[in-house]
Amino acid sequence: MNFDLDQEHRELAGAAGEFLSASASPAAARAALEDGAALRPGRAELVKSGYATITVPASGGTVLQQAVVAEQAGRVLAGPSLVSFARAAVLLDGDPDRLAGLADGSLAVAVVDDGGPVLDAIGADTFLALRDRALVCGPGTVTAREPIDPTRGLGDVALGATTVLARDAAERWRRAERVGRAILAAEGLGAAARLLELSVEYAKQRHAFGRAIGSYQAVKHLLVDVYVEVEQLRSLVWWAAWAAGRAPGELPLAAAAAKAAAATTLELAAETAIQVHGGIGFTWEHDAHLYWRRAKVDRFLLGDDVAAFDEVARLAMGQVT
């Protein structure tokens, strides 16, 4: 066993982080919120970079590699989400034309879950959905919804005429969802880790009563609790992403655990960041609320935290050895 990123992963993270942070940022997210500015890096740039389609079979990349990139994307609130690409790559497996379209950017794909506005619907032209156990694909009409987190591109989707891509696709759909959960959790990890950095930095600089606020146990211990959660989330993300490629039997539990932990950890990190920053933490100009918005939305994507915890429990009770 070697449960650590390899050198290759670290280099990938470095390169992806450089690419993503060159265009995406909390400031870009704020601009999107203020006047609907385009997402950064945006679908076209993401596709062009190759980072969005690592798991398209032709690319030969792994979900773990995609997760490593997704963490970097989460750090800078990049949009659209790598979740949509990773799910599409699983769902379109065996459909070389559409996969090529996904990889060259000629198809802008979103995956339609039941019940509620759809992730990355805005700007998508091709929608994948599960209907009566069949995987269907087609155009759709998107009604944008007022965003909480503008980088998530949520809109209501009315599917147009669809083509059946696979008849009995429930199993594949679930796998795609689980891969999506791993990637979503990786984005959450990046966002939570970044919030922790911002909070620690502020706690070192800001003084009250003659010393840095981070020297007070009340503040210090809040930050430590976030640190512990973030590191545990990191472990679960790696496990889930690794399992997607190497241990499919572990993927259901690992993906549900990562999804659930991401939801609660990112929320904790965001709420703690606002608290530690005091007054400036809840101003429009500060970055904290942009991550907080991400937290409040992401917890409800790909099933909410409650559903993920429930699934963990069911799997734990059924899978005991």
């Binding site: 509620g116 003659g210 608290q275 005091g278 007054g279 809840f282």
Partner: protein
Amino acid sequence: MDFDDTPDEAVWRASVRAFLSRHRSVDDPRAWQAMLYDAGFVGVAWPVEAGGRGGTPMRQAIVDQEMARLGLPALINLIGIGMCGPTVLMHGSDRQKQRYLKRLLRADDLWCQLFSEPAAGSDLAGLRTRAVRDGGGDWRISGQKVWTTLAHLADYGILLARTDPDAPKHRGLTMFVVDMKAPGVTVRPLRQMNGDAHFNEVFLDDVPVPDAERLGEPGEGWRVALTTLMSERLSLGGGGTPIGPKPEAVARHVAEHIGALPADRQALARQQLGRAYVAALGARYTGYRRLSRLSRGELPGPEASAGKLSGTRSARDLTDLAVRVLGGDARVGTTPDGDRTWQNMQAVLPGMAIAGGSDQVLRNIIGERVLGLPAEPRVDKGADRR
């Protein structure tokens, strides 16, 4: 012990209720407050000579309860009534009381509170705004304040400034009444994370303030400020009024939506509602106990901060549930029929949790002043405050 109204209280409640049901609320918030004042419902417990009605805190509480029951709009000059007014009442000269208090209660003048600064939040006594005496014994104030509610509308503000930079931190402060229309006062709105601008930054550039507008003696500002802060605590959850949403409103909202959830989710929603609701009830009834003690003439003590501590937590959890029961719509800012109540509440609460003292500061106050636990060693005795 008796929750029921005394006969006197019952008569009062009936008259309040009768008046309020006869009179619709008025759109202009100043006119609304003036109407209520003229009806005898504002400043009920203030002394008559300060423009009040010389009644009991319980009578005022009854007015507040009846207004809440009817869902009537709150008074615009809340900061003035809850914090500035009591400070002027306790520390102002006769002339100041005469000049300001009745007009404050009628919302003829609006008031704000200029305490916090960019570098002095929890550590309020570390503030740097300077007031310097001129040749004639009057003052010039320069500095920057922040998180000032209503500053963009206010006619007056109470302002805490450093008048003696060489004195120990808590000794060199003085309180003033500042004319917000005076030359040198610049107000700039500050947007919160939900996009609204309820707060302001206030820049003071050599603002002239007559010595007659001092509140209390020079160097006594900290003691004066404690009056204000004590009153603030009581108004922030300390008297039984909820912070954030009314628990009943959340329960009603959940009741409307819970039927659409699967049975499992209904059980979980009820647990979350039950837990937050019990906390809210606990805070409410603890506030009533405080109110009862106040009615007997006791001063509000540090334990009033407890209401804010638990109130912000239950408000958060109640609001979280209110958002969750929206289902898929919880991911976006408005429901299909345009309702943004709960999403907006969710984005406002983090600010409410910090205004009026962070959880950390409030816990220190209760731990030291109520439980009698020793304070931490202080390292800021000789810090530079220039």
